[in-house]
Symmetry: C2
């Protein structure tokens, strides 16, 4: 019927993507509470903080305290985000995270210029410097990403050829430096993707590089998150970034209630119902989503924490049928 | 790549599904305002009211006044809902709607017993009576539906064989009475469907009855609405019920903000971005969604009214590129 994977790997980004965007300050203890709750759900990887400038992102000023406070669980990979050597050094100094390097190129020149003040050539040069930095600190580079791979609010549609060109650049970097990339992430940074675009871009990248493991980073700003994830699953994609409760907001919508990242528990529900394993306890994850909503203090866009699982209804229906049979 | 239709037909059910479930009374004039706004979007069909018992559904007590008040636009089909002859007579007396008969069977025996106090045999007998009633009033029967076709909160999973059996019953009714059914609607009444289930059920019905035009009625209670619609599109389904803004709530979630029907403007956005025509002006539809939100007085689950269209961003990006080229 279709090429669905048997097992999907979720990279939970709620604590990082979610908390850094909230307007109101979130107490360090509550951030730790969510990370600890997520650790018990079976999710294999959690991005817990970003080590960025406290003046630029006040919500992440307590990154060191958050890292110091959460409890590591066996089998869970805990990652952080940084944008430069200063951030990496903070992450290393915290001495508790799984430090993994990543590269990122951007498919929109205008977005790159706006957000990082770089031309594409300068951005490529910056990747060489990044690799040198990771080598100096003996940090493996395991992930590479293409930002704005499906379109850009400032540049419009992104030609497929440009995405393929950037993947080629990443393959060349990888070959030059002998990197062992685990995944190539295609990021729908500004929520331009539809399922047809996911199929087109993932299909073209896969055809050109069949040995690359692809990951999708999806935003739900226009309500396409789960449908896009399904299109990815159909193309055999088995690794997804997601955020519990749909945390993450949308910096472009200027609206606290706007949908953020694709919602982890909705994605996990879809996978399980379609026979795809995630290793995650959906009930525990839904409880974590409710906790996240309580922590941010406003409704989050996730559906499953309101809609409820089907397994509970199935169990109730079975019990009712048995009771009726005995009566 | 896949079997997407070129054109999709939307049956807008927001005014009926949405308003009848709201806790607070909605002024008749505001219901009319939304219907009139929807009439100008290009949507081909709008279900405007239900003629049901005012004591059972107080929110629809003003059905006659709503029908009297809205302005009919050429090219739009205006339908109503009724559950018995009394309701049909009210709809006929209003003398302004496009009166079309429909049949409905239910794939969950327990749901049927709970909601309609009927066994499957009694429900089938009721369809014969319905057809007799429509004949007596010279009303064409153009639509048939299978309720709870993907699962039931009270019975659990619904076997595919049962759905296929009900479709056979409908085909027999159609042959016996010489009906000219335009569509067979598969309704995910309690939001049990996932994209894989949509493919399985639609595929099986299509294989058994290739000449039937299928329609999907989807709820978004568990966040699967748009993904399920996409799975339907991939199977060639070209007719969808939907509700502007995602109106419709969810009677089972006991939560005013819970997701209702699949959201019309999100579905239309997906179609247009994938090159599928709907005949609908997306900007006008988004304005109607904002109006619906204003009328009900609480946030509705639709995403596009917050996320915004891509065409506007494309136009801005083009203008910026032209300005840069001239500088």
């Amino acid at each position: 019927m279709s090429d669905l994977p048997r097992r999907v790997r979720i990279n939970e980004e709620g604590p990082r993507e979610g908390f850094q965007i909230e307007r109101n300050p979130i107490p360090t203890a509550r951030k730790i509470e969510l990370i600890d709750a997520l650790s018990l759900t079976g999710v294999p990887q959690i991005q817990v903080v970003s080590f960025v400038s406290p003046s630029a992102v006040p919500g992440m000023a307590d990154a060191e305290q958050v890292v110091a406070g959460f409890t590591r669980r066996t089998g869970v990979i805990y990652t952080g985000l940084w944008l430069n050597e200063k951030g990496l050094l903070r992450a290393l100094a915290a001495n508790k995270l799984d430090i993994r390097g990543s590269l990122a190129l951007t498919a929109s020149e205008r977005f790159l210029l706006r957000n990082q003040k770089r031309t594409p050539d300068e951005d490529l040069a910056a990747q060489h410097s990044l690799i040198a930095m990771y080598r100096a600190h003996e940090v493996p580079v395991v992930r590479a990403g293409i930002m704005a791979a499906f379109g850009c609010n400032f540049e419009g549609d992104v030609p497929l050829a440009r995405v393929l060109g950037l993947v080629d650049q990443i393959r060349k970097l990888s070959a030059t430096y002998g990197l062992r990339l685990e995944t190539l992430s295609l990021a729908d940074t500004m929520a331009w993707a539809t399922p047809a675009a996911i199929r087109r871009v993932v299909g073209a990248v896969r055809e050109a590089h069949p040995e690359l493991r692809l990951s999708l980073h999806l935003h739900d700003t226009r309500g396409m998150g789960i449908a896009n994830a399904y299109a990815g699953l159909q193309m055999g994609v088995d690794t997804f970034d997601a955020a519990v409760g749909g945390l993450g907001g949308c910096p472009f919508a200027a609206h606290a209630g706007a949908a953020g990242n694709v919602c982890t528990e909705d994605l996990v529900f879809m996978c399980h119902e379609m026979g795809i394993e995630t290793g995650i306890d959906l009930d525990a994850l839904i409880e974590a989503a409710r906790l996240a909503e309580d922590i941010v203090g406003h409704p989050l866009p996730g559906s499953m924490m309101r809609g409820g699982t089907l397994d509970r209804l199935r169990a109730k229906a079975r019990a009712a049928a048995e009771a009726a049979a005995q009566a």
